[in-house]
């Protein structure tokens, strides 16, 4: 087995073995280890529920943002039709932010969906294994002397323990991902709180934050393009033109 020490699978196997050794208490009864398995199953169910909750929260934010995108687009059109290009530009800039956030939220919702599916599969595997352990435990107890039964059931408990460690890791990864997404959801909420997606006629403070966010997104170019397109649709000026030409027409709605 020379060279084995460097293998990925070996590193993982030894880590899991250590984890199981740590969890194992020789003094504990066999029924107690079954109880612990059931608790672990409950933990997985709770983990799945947490992922579902996070997914719902992001989904709700996404539908709010969708509404904002429509609203800001309408406002930009109205502003442009009324000859207020500056307001139209601001509306489009915010629409751009909303769209960028929306795209990222949609991706995250999809990611959480697949986490949920994977955890559900893991939960099912663990549930089947624990049920099998329960049956096996009773059979072994009936067939063997107490001492031998103890050994055999311990082996089986280790097998189930490995499954629990596997599911535990899947849960931890799901929780980490969910935490990252919570941070993202909080950031979107801050943008909302700053009035980024609000009615533009009621603009308050917080403008500086929004401008900073815009700069970070580098959304300027896309906004220019969209503004030119919208102008063309409204029959103002020529078809999508170079930014230089747009600027010259800025004060002349």
């Amino acid at each position: 087995m020379a060279g084995m020490a460097g293998r990925m699978s070996t590193v993982i196997k030894s880590k899991i073995s250590k984890l199981l050794d740590k969890a194992e208490d020789p003094g504990e009864t066999l029924d107690y280890s079954y109880q612990k398995q059931l608790e672990s199953l409950q933990g997985v169910k709770k983990g799945i529920a947490d992922v579902v909750t996070a997914k719902k929260r992001l989904g709700m934010q996404a539908s709010k943002l969708e509404q904002s995108v429509v609203k800001l687009d309408t406002q930009a059109r109205q502003a442009l039709a009324a000859g207020n290009e500056e307001l139209a530009r601001t509306a489009l800039e915010r629409k751009q932010i909303a769209q960028t956030e929306l795209q990222s939220l949609d991706q995250q919702v999809a990611e959480l969906q697949s986490q949920q599916e994977r955890l559900t599969e893991s939960e099912k595997r663990l549930r089947v294994k624990i049920e099998s352990f329960r049956t096996k435990k009773e059979v072994i107890k009936a067939q063997y002397s107490a001492a031998e039964a103890q050994v055999r059931i311990s082996e089986a408990a280790t097998g189930v323990g490995e499954e629990m460690a596997d599911v535990g890791l899947a849960m931890q990864r799901a929780i980490d991902k969910t935490e990252n997404m919570k941070a993202r959801a909080d950031a979107v909420e801050e943008l909302e709180a700053a009035g980024t997606f609000e009615d533009l006629t009621q603009l308050g403070s917080g403008q500086d934050d929004i401008d900073r966010e815009l700069a970070a997104l580098g959304a300027g170019g896309m906004v220019d393009d969209e503004l030119a397109k919208m102008k063309a649709e409204l029959g103002q000026g020529s078809a999508p033109a170079a930014p230089a030409e747009l600027e010259s027409g800025e004060d002349k709605p």
Binding site: G3, M4, G6, R7, M8, S9, T10, V11, I12, K13, K15, I16, K18, L19, R118, S122, K124, R125, V128, K129, E131, S132, F133, K136, E155, A156, T158, G159, V160, E162, A165, D166, L169, A170, Q172, R173
Partner: protein, 92 residues
């Protein structure tokens, strides 16, 4: 030999097949060490393919301890690298 793909389940593999898996595992480690992302994915995915196609999938109700445990299929190279530095998916 029993091989577990984390997050997926266990497979029963022949000794020959485990030899092949070990070779690919070495390739995975080499790729991680030389920061070769494409090499990592190629070797890791082939390793998973060998286990899935050559191995016999164990029933969920079977209770067996694995001889070999490989990380989840969606493991990134960064996660795999962290595993070797002792601060990976599984706590020490």
């Amino acid at each position: 030999m029993i091989v577990r793909i984390m997050g997926e389940g266990q497979y029963r593999l022949s000794e020959d097949c485990v030899g092949r898996v070990n070779e690919l595992d070495n390739a995975v480690v080499k790729a991680v060490e030389s920061d070769d992302e494409d090499g990592f994915h190629a070797a890791f995915e082939e390793m998973l393919d060998v286990i899935r196609s050559e191995g016999e999938h164990l029933d969920d109700a079977d209770i067996e301890t694995s001889d070999v445990i490989v990380p989840p299929p969606d493991t990134s190279m960064v996660e795999a690298a962290a595993e070797f530095s002792g601060d990976g998916l599984i706590p020490d």
